[in-house]
């Protein structure tokens, strides 16, 4: 199979260009664009450039490239679509929305991650359309707000309604969720010996501190507006902007890149369902079926791409990977005992 190797520079420039065009279109030639948020918009474009670059580079690694191709091949197959209709929506719910795999690790971490996750998702859904000028509100009469999305009128709602309250305080709610989650996470990072054994400041603690700083400065902006008659508003807005921009520009480099990588687990779910239904490989030694046949073939291809050659010419050109992990251990130990049977060491 020959591969097309897209250039990370080209793809990232293209994606950033598309987003810039959408900002232009969605804000009706910048008519609805909020100049006060221009810094955020520019930083987002740079972040998208960086994230796409890293994403394309990541996809070019042999194992990632293979799963990426296979995943889409399986996704766009009509036969698979009929057989595994519910699989993708279910995996989406299970892996991304509810994150049951984290619950399996611990309820504490589940609560911690879900609050941070939903806080960030909620705030992103509000913030980015606002920054790009895609959401626009117009006052109609005395107490009615009209919401425009992409310049198209969507619906009207009364100013004093619960919906208006939730919409205008959506970011505060998101910030509270994130603060709760980050406190749980920081507590764990200073208590749990398992995480303390391996954590690093730049990778594990910095993203938490950044999220905390964003949420706190964001909440203080609301406080300044509601309770302090706007004192410190300008200063707080500046600090908030600096922290937010720093964080989104950090996404391609650190821990937060898992946001981009993680959905791949849905592809893995589909891969195993499709490959598993097609038949399994039997271990060349014990005969036990141990992994989908397609998986073993793909693994061999990945190893070949990485210039590793486990072919065993004396065993009908079988691969060492045709043996199940248990037999690999047993056979290696047997090789050891054959070499050492001459005497005790």
């Amino acid at each position: 199979m020959r591969r097309l190797e897209p250039s990370p520079t080209l793809v990232s420039l293209l994606v950033t260009g598309v987003l810039a065009a959408l900002i232009f279109l969605g804000s009706r030639n910048l008519k609805n664009f909020d100049a006060a948020l221009a810094g955020y918009a520019v930083a987002t474009l740079f972040a998208v450039l960086g994230i796409t670059y890293r994403f394309v580079q990541w996809l070019s690694r042999p194992p990632t490239a293979l799963y990426w191709r296979r995943g889409w091949q399986m996704f766009f197959s009509w036969r698979n679509f009929r057989r595994f209709l519910g699989l993708i929506p279910w995996a989406f719910l299970d892996h991304l929305a509810v994150q049951n795999f984290i619950r399996e690790r611990s309820y504490y971490r589940w609560a911690m991650h879900l609050t941070i996750f939903w806080g960030v998702v909620l705030s992103s859904l509000i913030v980015f359309p606002l920054v790009f000028g895609w959401f626009n509100f117009r006052l109609i009469g005395e107490d009615q707000y009209h919401l425009f999305v992409f310049g198209l009128p969507l619906f009207t709602f009364p100013l004093g309604s619960l919906f208006a309250f939730l919409l205008f305080h959506g970011l505060d709610i998101a910030a509270l969720l994130v603060v709760a989650g980050v406190i749980l996470a920081l507590r764990r990072r200073y208590r749990d010996r398992e995480v303390m054994a391996g954590q690093e400041f730049g990778f594990d603690l910095l993203p938490l501190l950044l999220l905390l700083a964003i949420s706190i400065t964001g909440l203080l902006l609301t406080a300044s507006q509601l309770f302090w008659e706007g004192s410190y508003y300008w200063f707080l807005a500046l600090v908030h902007q600096v922290v937010v921009i720093g964080t989104i520009l950090y996404i391609p480099f650190g821990k937060l890149f898992h946001i981009i990588q993680r959905p791949a687990s849905i592809g893995i779910e589909l891969y195993y369902a499709v490959a598993g239904a097609a038949g399994h490989s039997a271990c060349a030694n014990c005969g036990r079926e141990f992994a989908p046949e397609l998986f073993v073939q793909d693994l061999k291809r990945t190893l070949s791409d990485l210039e590793q050659d486990y072919v065993m010419p004396a065993e009908d050109n079988r691969w060492w990977q045709d043996y199940c992990p248990e037999c690999k251990r047993m056979l290696r130990a047997t090789a050891y005992f054959m070499e050492t049977q001459r005497g005790f060491l």
């Binding site: 042999p62 690790r105 054994a197 290696r332 130990a333």
Partner: protein
């Protein structure tokens, strides 16, 4: 590689599983044992052998190379770490690529686990848990010179799997004259021997 590393002498293994119990106590993977005690040919022999991550140096960590999400990192001193918790997507590449059959996959957690040479302990000058408790010297930890001086055997860290030579950070004690362990020789000997090794996939059953 760290100056001190693990030296295995399976001949000395008495199958007591102290290492398995101690492994669970390590702070970097509390409650989970990362090494295996395998029976070899149980109907004919009571031989057991410890198996843990060999921390491959050349090619460097095949498990990390086949990982699609770059979840397995190798520290500067050559210790191959267990999968990064937020990156691992449980694709099982590492478990089946590993020439030594070491990584475990927990399908419910969607996470790989493997021996990281008790990194938290080794980094501060302690021995890994297994080497600390092994009563018979089947698992030892020290410098090459230390261990070579204490043993009649020679530490060997080269294994040949078909065409592929693998050099590891962990050594195995061999009689003088042995420079490489050849797996293919063992295949002829083993031919369909009874397997009683511990499966590497758990919680989610070993799938068929």
């Amino acid at each position: 590689m760290t100056e001190r590393t693990i030296f295995l002498a399976p001949q000395r293994c008495i199958g007591c599983r102290s290492c398995v119990i101690a492994c669970r106590e390590c702070d970097s993977h509390i409650g989970k044992a990362m090494l295996f005690i395998d029976y070899l040919n149980r109907s004919e022999s009571m031989a057991t052998a410890p198996a843990l991550c060999m921390h491959c140096q050349d090619p460097v960590a095949p498990c990390a190379q086949v990982c699609p999400t770059q979840a397995i990192l190798v520290s500067r001193d050559g210790v191959v770490q267990q999968a990064n918790k937020e990156r691992c997507i449980a694709c099982r590449n590492c478990a089946y690529a590993c020439p030594f059959g070491i990584p475990k996959i927990d399908l419910a957690d969607r996470l790989q686990y493997k021996c990281n040479m008790c990194y938290d302990r080794v980094a501060v000058g302690k021995k890994p848990m297994c080497a600390t408790v092994c009563p018979s010297g089947a698992i030892a930890f020290g410098t090459y010179e230390e261990i070579a001086a204490q043993n009649r055997g020679v530490p060997v860290n080269r294994f040949r799997f078909g065409n592929q030579m693998v050099q590891t950070g962990v050594y195995v004690m061999a009689p003088a004259g042995v420079e490489v362990f050849h797996i293919q020789q063992a295949l002829k000997f083993a031919g369909g021997a009874e397997i009683s090794a511990v499966p590497g996939i758990y919680k989610g059953e070993v799938w068929r």
